[in-house]
Symmetry: C3
Amino acid sequence: MTLQQVTFTLPAYPRGFHLITEAVLRHIPHMPHTGMLFLFLQHTSAGIVVNENCDPDVLHDFESVFNVLVPENMPFLKHVLEGPDDMPAHIKSVLTGHSVSIPITNHRPALGRWQGIYLCEFRNHAHGRTVVASVLGHTVNDH
Amino acid sequence: MTLQQVTFTLPAYPRGFHLITEAVLRHIPHMPHTGMLFLFLQHTSAGIVVNENCDPDVLHDFESVFNVLVPENMPFLKHVLEGPDDMPAHIKSVLTGHSVSIPITNHRPALGRWQGIYLCEFRNHAHGRTVVASVLGHTVNDH
Amino acid sequence: MTLQQVTFTLPAYPRGFHLITEAVLRHIPHMPHTGMLFLFLQHTSAGIVVNENCDPDVLHDFESVFNVLVPENMPFLKHVLEGPDDMPAHIKSVLTGHSVSIPITNHRPALGRWQGIYLCEFRNHAHGRTVVASVLGHTVNDH
Protein backbone atom coordinates (compact mmCIF):
# COMPACT_ATOMS: atom_id res chain seq x y z
CA MET A 1 0.00 0.00 0.00
CA THR A 2 1.34 3.40 -0.91
CA LEU A 3 0.19 6.99 -0.59
CA GLN A 4 1.47 9.41 -3.18
CA GLN A 5 0.78 13.12 -3.34
CA VAL A 6 0.94 15.64 -6.12
CA THR A 7 0.16 19.33 -5.76
CA PHE A 8 -0.84 21.29 -8.82
CA THR A 9 -2.48 24.59 -9.71
CA LEU A 10 -5.43 24.71 -12.05
CA PRO A 11 -5.66 27.56 -14.56
CA ALA A 12 -7.79 30.51 -13.46
CA TYR A 13 -11.46 29.96 -14.19
CA PRO A 14 -14.18 32.62 -14.35
CA ARG A 15 -16.84 32.69 -11.68
CA GLY A 16 -19.10 29.66 -12.08
CA PHE A 17 -19.10 25.88 -12.04
CA HIS A 18 -16.58 24.13 -14.34
CA LEU A 19 -16.01 20.52 -15.30
CA ILE A 20 -12.37 19.72 -14.47
CA THR A 21 -12.24 15.92 -14.60
CA GLU A 22 -9.64 15.81 -17.37
CA ALA A 23 -7.72 18.82 -16.05
CA VAL A 24 -7.31 16.98 -12.75
CA LEU A 25 -6.59 13.52 -14.09
CA ARG A 26 -3.77 14.66 -16.37
CA HIS A 27 -1.83 15.38 -13.15
CA ILE A 28 -2.34 11.82 -11.91
CA PRO A 29 -1.14 9.60 -14.75
CA HIS A 30 -0.62 6.40 -12.74
CA MET A 31 -3.36 5.13 -10.48
CA PRO A 32 -3.26 1.92 -8.46
CA HIS A 33 -5.49 -1.00 -9.34
CA THR A 34 -7.59 -0.47 -6.22
CA GLY A 35 -7.44 2.66 -4.13
CA MET A 36 -8.76 6.09 -3.20
CA LEU A 37 -8.23 9.49 -4.75
CA PHE A 38 -8.47 12.39 -2.33
CA LEU A 39 -8.62 15.91 -3.80
CA PHE A 40 -8.18 18.87 -1.48
CA LEU A 41 -8.53 22.50 -2.51
CA GLN A 42 -6.25 24.84 -0.54
CA HIS A 43 -8.68 27.76 -0.75
CA THR A 44 -11.64 29.18 1.18
CA SER A 45 -13.69 30.86 -1.55
CA ALA A 46 -13.98 28.02 -4.08
CA GLY A 47 -15.28 24.47 -3.91
CA ILE A 48 -14.74 21.05 -5.43
CA VAL A 49 -17.59 18.59 -5.91
CA VAL A 50 -18.76 15.72 -8.08
CA ASN A 51 -21.89 16.15 -10.20
CA GLU A 52 -23.40 15.91 -13.66
CA ASN A 53 -20.82 15.75 -16.47
CA CYS A 54 -22.89 16.19 -19.62
CA ASP A 55 -25.21 19.17 -20.01
CA PRO A 56 -23.58 22.64 -19.74
CA ASP A 57 -26.97 24.01 -18.66
CA VAL A 58 -26.49 22.17 -15.38
CA LEU A 59 -23.32 24.17 -14.68
CA HIS A 60 -25.19 27.37 -15.52
CA ASP A 61 -28.08 26.48 -13.23
CA PHE A 62 -25.72 25.64 -10.35
CA GLU A 63 -24.31 29.17 -10.53
CA SER A 64 -27.82 30.68 -10.67
CA VAL A 65 -29.18 28.70 -7.75
CA PHE A 66 -26.14 29.26 -5.52
CA ASN A 67 -26.53 33.00 -6.10
CA VAL A 68 -30.12 32.76 -4.87
CA LEU A 69 -29.14 30.58 -1.90
CA VAL A 70 -26.41 32.99 -0.79
CA PRO A 71 -27.13 36.46 -2.21
CA GLU A 72 -24.58 39.27 -2.17
CA ASN A 73 -24.97 42.42 -0.11
CA MET A 74 -26.91 40.91 2.77
CA PRO A 75 -27.13 43.98 5.02
CA PHE A 76 -25.99 42.26 8.23
CA LEU A 77 -22.62 41.05 6.86
CA LYS A 78 -19.52 42.39 8.62
CA HIS A 79 -16.75 40.89 6.43
CA VAL A 80 -17.21 43.17 3.41
CA LEU A 81 -13.79 44.77 2.78
CA GLU A 82 -12.79 42.20 0.16
CA GLY A 83 -15.83 42.91 -2.00
CA PRO A 84 -19.48 41.81 -2.14
CA ASP A 85 -18.55 38.44 -3.68
CA ASP A 86 -16.10 37.45 -0.92
CA MET A 87 -18.20 36.51 2.11
CA PRO A 88 -20.83 34.74 -0.06
CA ALA A 89 -17.91 32.83 -1.60
CA HIS A 90 -16.83 31.58 1.84
CA ILE A 91 -20.38 30.42 2.60
CA LYS A 92 -20.77 28.71 -0.77
CA SER A 93 -17.41 27.01 -0.30
CA VAL A 94 -18.66 25.44 2.94
CA LEU A 95 -21.94 24.39 1.29
CA THR A 96 -20.14 22.62 -1.56
CA GLY A 97 -17.11 21.46 0.39
CA HIS A 98 -13.41 21.87 -0.37
CA SER A 99 -12.56 18.22 -1.01
CA VAL A 100 -13.75 15.00 -2.64
CA SER A 101 -12.92 11.35 -1.96
CA ILE A 102 -13.31 9.08 -4.98
CA PRO A 103 -12.65 5.33 -5.10
CA ILE A 104 -10.18 4.02 -7.66
CA THR A 105 -11.06 0.75 -9.41
CA ASN A 106 -9.08 -0.83 -12.24
CA HIS A 107 -6.65 2.11 -12.35
CA ARG A 108 -9.48 4.62 -12.92
CA PRO A 109 -11.64 6.81 -10.69
CA ALA A 110 -14.84 4.84 -10.08
CA LEU A 111 -17.10 7.69 -11.11
CA GLY A 112 -20.63 6.92 -12.16
CA ARG A 113 -21.55 7.24 -15.81
CA TRP A 114 -22.85 10.79 -15.37
CA GLN A 115 -20.36 11.99 -12.76
CA GLY A 116 -17.59 14.51 -13.31
CA ILE A 117 -15.43 16.65 -11.04
CA TYR A 118 -16.36 20.35 -10.74
CA LEU A 119 -14.37 23.33 -9.69
CA CYS A 120 -16.80 25.83 -8.17
CA GLU A 121 -15.26 29.28 -8.56
CA PHE A 122 -17.12 31.70 -6.32
CA ARG A 123 -14.93 34.81 -6.71
CA ASN A 124 -15.35 37.30 -9.56
CA HIS A 125 -11.62 37.51 -10.30
CA ALA A 126 -9.68 34.57 -8.94
CA HIS A 127 -6.20 33.31 -9.67
CA GLY A 128 -5.54 29.66 -10.36
CA ARG A 129 -6.54 27.33 -7.55
CA THR A 130 -4.15 24.83 -5.97
CA VAL A 131 -5.19 21.21 -5.40
CA VAL A 132 -3.43 18.54 -3.34
CA ALA A 133 -4.17 15.11 -4.82
CA SER A 134 -3.44 12.11 -2.62
CA VAL A 135 -3.53 8.68 -4.25
CA LEU A 136 -3.81 5.71 -1.91
CA GLY A 137 -3.65 2.17 -3.13
CA HIS A 138 -2.20 -1.17 -3.93
CA THR A 139 0.30 -1.72 -6.74
CA VAL A 140 0.76 1.81 -7.98
CA ASN A 141 3.26 0.49 -10.51
CA ASP A 142 1.05 -2.36 -11.70
CA HIS A 143 -0.23 -0.80 -14.90
CA MET B 1 -2.79 -2.48 5.72
CA THR B 2 -5.32 -3.42 3.08
CA LEU B 3 -7.92 -1.65 1.02
CA GLN B 4 -10.92 -3.70 -0.04
CA GLN B 5 -13.79 -2.54 -2.21
CA VAL B 6 -17.29 -3.79 -2.67
CA THR B 7 -19.85 -2.27 -5.03
CA PHE B 8 -23.53 -2.85 -4.38
CA THR B 9 -26.88 -1.42 -5.41
CA LEU B 10 -29.40 -0.36 -2.80
CA PRO B 11 -33.07 -1.08 -3.45
CA ALA B 12 -35.02 1.80 -4.95
CA TYR B 13 -36.27 4.21 -2.30
CA PRO B 14 -39.04 6.81 -2.69
CA ARG B 15 -38.13 10.47 -2.70
CA GLY B 16 -36.98 11.49 0.79
CA PHE B 17 -34.36 10.78 3.42
CA HIS B 18 -33.89 7.13 4.47
CA LEU B 19 -31.88 5.45 7.19
CA ILE B 20 -29.66 2.86 5.46
CA THR B 21 -27.08 1.98 8.10
CA GLU B 22 -28.03 -1.70 8.21
CA ALA B 23 -28.65 -1.92 4.45
CA VAL B 24 -25.09 -0.71 3.91
CA LEU B 25 -23.36 -2.70 6.62
CA ARG B 26 -24.76 -6.03 5.49
CA HIS B 27 -22.58 -5.63 2.40
CA ILE B 28 -19.46 -5.18 4.53
CA PRO B 29 -19.42 -8.17 6.85
CA HIS B 30 -15.73 -8.03 7.85
CA MET B 31 -14.23 -4.78 9.03
CA PRO B 32 -10.66 -4.32 10.23
CA HIS B 33 -9.90 -3.61 13.87
CA THR B 34 -8.87 -0.04 13.04
CA GLY B 35 -9.59 1.63 9.73
CA MET B 36 -11.74 3.85 7.56
CA LEU B 37 -14.96 3.17 5.68
CA PHE B 38 -15.45 5.30 2.55
CA LEU B 39 -18.89 5.23 0.91
CA PHE B 40 -19.26 6.78 -2.54
CA LEU B 41 -22.57 7.13 -4.38
CA GLN B 42 -22.19 6.86 -8.17
CA HIS B 43 -25.07 9.25 -8.84
CA THR B 44 -25.69 12.97 -9.27
CA SER B 45 -29.26 13.37 -8.03
CA ALA B 46 -29.05 11.65 -4.64
CA GLY B 47 -26.89 12.10 -1.57
CA ILE B 48 -25.38 10.17 1.29
CA VAL B 49 -24.87 11.72 4.72
CA VAL B 50 -24.67 10.87 8.40
CA ASN B 51 -27.31 12.26 10.77
CA GLU B 52 -29.87 11.44 13.44
CA ASN B 53 -30.81 7.75 13.59
CA CYS B 54 -33.82 7.67 15.89
CA ASP B 55 -36.85 9.87 15.20
CA PRO B 56 -38.58 9.37 11.81
CA ASP B 57 -39.83 12.95 12.07
CA VAL B 58 -36.26 14.10 11.48
CA LEU B 59 -36.24 12.34 8.12
CA HIS B 60 -39.56 13.95 7.25
CA ASP B 61 -38.31 17.40 8.21
CA PHE B 62 -35.13 17.00 6.17
CA GLU B 63 -37.25 16.44 3.08
CA SER B 64 -39.46 19.44 3.88
CA VAL B 65 -36.59 21.84 4.55
CA PHE B 66 -34.60 20.77 1.47
CA ASN B 67 -37.67 21.45 -0.65
CA VAL B 68 -37.79 24.98 0.76
CA LEU B 69 -34.05 25.50 0.31
CA VAL B 70 -34.14 24.37 -3.32
CA PRO B 71 -37.68 24.78 -4.68
CA GLU B 72 -38.81 23.31 -7.96
CA ASN B 73 -39.76 25.38 -11.00
CA MET B 74 -37.41 28.30 -10.36
CA PRO B 75 -38.13 30.33 -13.51
CA PHE B 76 -34.48 30.91 -14.48
CA LEU B 77 -33.53 27.22 -14.70
CA LYS B 78 -32.34 25.99 -18.11
CA HIS B 79 -31.90 22.25 -17.40
CA VAL B 80 -35.59 21.32 -17.27
CA LEU B 81 -36.05 18.54 -19.84
CA GLU B 82 -35.69 15.74 -17.28
CA GLY B 83 -38.54 17.07 -15.13
CA PRO B 84 -38.98 19.71 -12.43
CA ASP B 85 -37.38 17.48 -9.78
CA ASP B 86 -34.13 16.90 -11.71
CA MET B 87 -32.13 20.12 -11.48
CA PRO B 88 -33.14 20.67 -7.83
CA ALA B 89 -31.95 17.10 -7.22
CA HIS B 90 -28.49 17.95 -8.60
CA ILE B 91 -28.29 21.02 -6.34
CA LYS B 92 -29.44 19.09 -3.26
CA SER B 93 -26.92 16.35 -4.04
CA VAL B 94 -24.10 18.89 -3.90
CA LEU B 95 -25.47 20.38 -0.67
CA THR B 96 -25.57 17.00 1.07
CA GLY B 97 -22.57 15.45 -0.64
CA HIS B 98 -22.21 12.15 -2.46
CA SER B 99 -19.84 10.40 -0.05
CA VAL B 100 -19.06 9.83 3.62
CA SER B 101 -15.84 8.88 5.41
CA ILE B 102 -16.38 7.04 8.69
CA PRO B 103 -13.67 5.74 11.03
CA ILE B 104 -13.70 2.05 11.94
CA THR B 105 -12.87 1.14 15.54
CA ASN B 106 -13.03 -2.34 17.04
CA HIS B 107 -14.37 -3.79 13.77
CA ARG B 108 -17.36 -1.39 13.74
CA PRO B 109 -18.07 2.02 12.22
CA ALA B 110 -17.29 4.55 14.97
CA LEU B 111 -20.63 6.30 14.64
CA GLY B 112 -21.85 8.39 17.54
CA ARG B 113 -24.77 7.11 19.57
CA TRP B 114 -27.32 9.07 17.54
CA GLN B 115 -25.67 8.78 14.14
CA GLY B 116 -26.90 6.73 11.22
CA ILE B 117 -26.22 6.69 7.50
CA TYR B 118 -28.86 8.31 5.25
CA LEU B 119 -29.63 7.87 1.60
CA CYS B 120 -31.10 11.15 0.36
CA GLU B 121 -33.26 10.34 -2.66
CA PHE B 122 -34.03 13.56 -4.49
CA ARG B 123 -35.76 12.17 -7.60
CA ASN B 124 -39.47 11.36 -7.73
CA HIS B 125 -38.96 8.00 -9.44
CA ALA B 126 -35.43 6.64 -9.04
CA HIS B 127 -33.99 3.22 -9.59
CA GLY B 128 -31.73 1.61 -7.03
CA ARG B 129 -28.58 3.59 -6.28
CA THR B 130 -25.10 2.09 -6.55
CA VAL B 131 -22.55 2.57 -3.77
CA VAL B 132 -18.81 1.83 -3.84
CA ALA B 133 -17.64 0.95 -0.32
CA SER B 134 -13.89 1.06 0.31
CA VAL B 135 -12.62 -0.45 3.56
CA LEU B 136 -9.13 0.56 4.63
CA GLY B 137 -7.45 -0.94 7.62
CA HIS B 138 -5.23 -3.17 9.63
CA THR B 139 -5.91 -6.87 10.17
CA VAL B 140 -9.00 -7.35 8.09
CA ASN B 141 -9.02 -11.01 9.05
CA ASP B 142 -8.49 -10.41 12.76
CA HIS B 143 -12.07 -10.82 13.89
CA MET C 1 1.84 2.55 6.04
CA THR C 2 -0.02 2.90 9.32
CA LEU C 3 -3.41 4.14 10.46
CA GLN C 4 -3.62 5.53 13.97
CA GLN C 5 -6.71 6.81 15.70
CA VAL C 6 -7.23 9.11 18.63
CA THR C 7 -10.61 10.09 20.04
CA PHE C 8 -10.89 13.30 22.03
CA THR C 9 -13.58 15.66 23.26
CA LEU C 10 -13.38 19.37 22.55
CA PRO C 11 -14.44 21.80 25.26
CA ALA C 12 -18.01 23.06 24.99
CA TYR C 13 -18.31 26.01 22.63
CA PRO C 14 -21.20 28.49 22.45
CA ARG C 15 -23.45 28.47 19.41
CA GLY C 16 -21.52 29.73 16.40
CA PHE C 17 -18.50 28.99 14.23
CA HIS C 18 -15.16 28.53 16.01
CA LEU C 19 -11.59 28.14 14.82
CA ILE C 20 -10.27 24.90 16.34
CA THR C 21 -7.13 24.18 14.31
CA GLU C 22 -4.81 24.31 17.33
CA ALA C 23 -7.31 22.63 19.65
CA VAL C 24 -7.43 19.69 17.24
CA LEU C 25 -3.74 19.48 16.40
CA ARG C 26 -2.62 19.33 20.01
CA HIS C 27 -4.26 15.89 20.14
CA ILE C 28 -2.21 14.71 17.15
CA PRO C 29 1.40 15.43 18.08
CA HIS C 30 3.08 13.10 15.60
CA MET C 31 2.09 13.15 11.95
CA PRO C 32 3.65 11.08 9.19
CA HIS C 33 5.77 12.68 6.49
CA THR C 34 3.08 12.04 3.89
CA GLY C 35 -0.47 11.06 4.72
CA MET C 36 -4.09 11.95 5.36
CA LEU C 37 -5.83 13.32 8.43
CA PHE C 38 -9.49 12.33 8.71
CA LEU C 39 -11.58 14.12 11.36
CA PHE C 40 -15.03 12.75 12.17
CA LEU C 41 -17.49 14.40 14.53
CA GLN C 42 -19.66 11.89 16.41
CA HIS C 43 -22.65 14.26 16.55
CA THR C 44 -25.69 15.22 14.50
CA SER C 45 -26.24 18.87 15.44
CA ALA C 46 -22.76 20.29 14.88
CA GLY C 47 -20.39 20.40 11.92
CA ILE C 48 -16.72 20.46 11.07
CA VAL C 49 -15.38 22.30 8.05
CA VAL C 50 -12.31 24.08 6.70
CA ASN C 51 -12.53 27.80 5.93
CA GLU C 52 -10.99 31.23 6.52
CA ASN C 53 -8.64 31.38 9.51
CA CYS C 54 -8.01 35.07 9.96
CA ASP C 55 -10.90 37.51 10.34
CA PRO C 56 -13.31 36.85 13.24
CA ASP C 57 -15.99 38.69 11.27
CA VAL C 58 -16.09 35.72 8.91
CA LEU C 59 -17.07 33.43 11.79
CA HIS C 60 -19.78 35.90 12.80
CA ASP C 61 -21.13 36.11 9.25
CA PHE C 62 -21.23 32.32 8.91
CA GLU C 63 -23.52 32.16 11.93
CA SER C 64 -25.73 34.95 10.56
CA VAL C 65 -26.07 33.48 7.09
CA PHE C 66 -26.74 29.94 8.31
CA ASN C 67 -29.54 31.31 10.49
CA VAL C 68 -31.10 32.86 7.37
CA LEU C 69 -30.59 29.71 5.31
CA VAL C 70 -32.24 27.50 7.93
CA PRO C 71 -34.48 29.63 10.14
CA GLU C 72 -35.97 28.39 13.38
CA ASN C 73 -39.69 27.80 13.93
CA MET C 74 -40.55 26.83 10.37
CA PRO C 75 -44.25 25.99 10.88
CA PHE C 76 -44.18 22.64 9.07
CA LEU C 77 -41.47 21.04 11.25
CA LYS C 78 -42.49 17.93 13.18
CA HIS C 79 -39.32 17.27 15.21
CA VAL C 80 -39.74 20.12 17.70
CA LEU C 81 -39.64 18.52 21.16
CA GLU C 82 -35.92 19.18 21.66
CA GLY C 83 -36.30 22.92 21.14
CA PRO C 84 -36.46 25.31 18.18
CA ASP C 85 -32.70 25.13 17.61
CA ASP C 86 -32.58 21.32 17.31
CA MET C 87 -34.04 20.47 13.89
CA PRO C 88 -32.31 23.46 12.22
CA ALA C 89 -29.09 22.18 13.82
CA HIS C 90 -29.54 18.79 12.11
CA ILE C 91 -30.09 20.48 8.75
CA LYS C 92 -27.10 22.79 9.17
CA SER C 93 -24.95 19.82 10.18
CA VAL C 94 -25.75 18.13 6.87
CA LEU C 95 -25.08 21.33 4.93
CA THR C 96 -21.63 21.77 6.50
CA GLY C 97 -20.78 18.11 6.88
CA HIS C 98 -19.59 16.16 9.91
CA SER C 99 -16.07 15.32 8.71
CA VAL C 100 -13.03 16.68 6.90
CA SER C 101 -10.21 14.94 5.02
CA ILE C 102 -6.95 16.90 4.96
CA PRO C 103 -3.69 15.83 3.30
CA ILE C 104 -0.55 15.67 5.46
CA THR C 105 2.69 16.89 3.88
CA ASN C 106 6.02 17.22 5.68
CA HIS C 107 4.47 16.15 8.99
CA ARG C 108 1.88 18.98 8.88
CA PRO C 109 -1.69 19.32 7.60
CA ALA C 110 -1.39 20.73 4.07
CA LEU C 111 -3.83 23.55 4.72
CA GLY C 112 -3.76 26.58 2.47
CA ARG C 113 -2.41 29.83 3.87
CA TRP C 114 -5.87 31.09 4.82
CA GLN C 115 -7.42 27.76 5.85
CA GLY C 116 -8.30 26.70 9.35
CA ILE C 117 -10.53 24.03 10.87
CA TYR C 118 -13.91 25.16 12.22
CA LEU C 119 -16.24 23.60 14.72
CA CYS C 120 -19.77 24.69 13.80
CA GLU C 121 -21.85 24.54 16.96
CA PHE C 122 -25.51 24.71 16.02
CA ARG C 123 -27.12 24.08 19.42
CA ASN C 124 -27.77 26.81 21.97
CA HIS C 125 -26.42 24.80 24.89
CA ALA C 126 -24.17 21.96 23.83
CA HIS C 127 -21.72 19.85 25.75
CA GLY C 128 -18.23 19.18 24.46
CA ARG C 129 -18.14 17.46 21.06
CA THR C 130 -16.22 14.25 20.45
CA VAL C 131 -13.95 13.88 17.43
CA VAL C 132 -12.33 10.72 16.06
CA ALA C 133 -9.05 11.63 14.33
CA SER C 134 -7.56 9.01 12.00
CA VAL C 135 -4.01 9.56 10.79
CA LEU C 136 -2.93 7.57 7.76
CA GLY C 137 0.57 7.65 6.45
CA HIS C 138 4.10 6.59 5.90
CA THR C 139 6.77 6.71 8.61
CA VAL C 140 4.72 7.91 11.54
CA ASN C 141 7.85 7.80 13.72
CA ASP C 142 10.05 9.57 11.19
CA HIS C 143 10.02 13.03 12.78
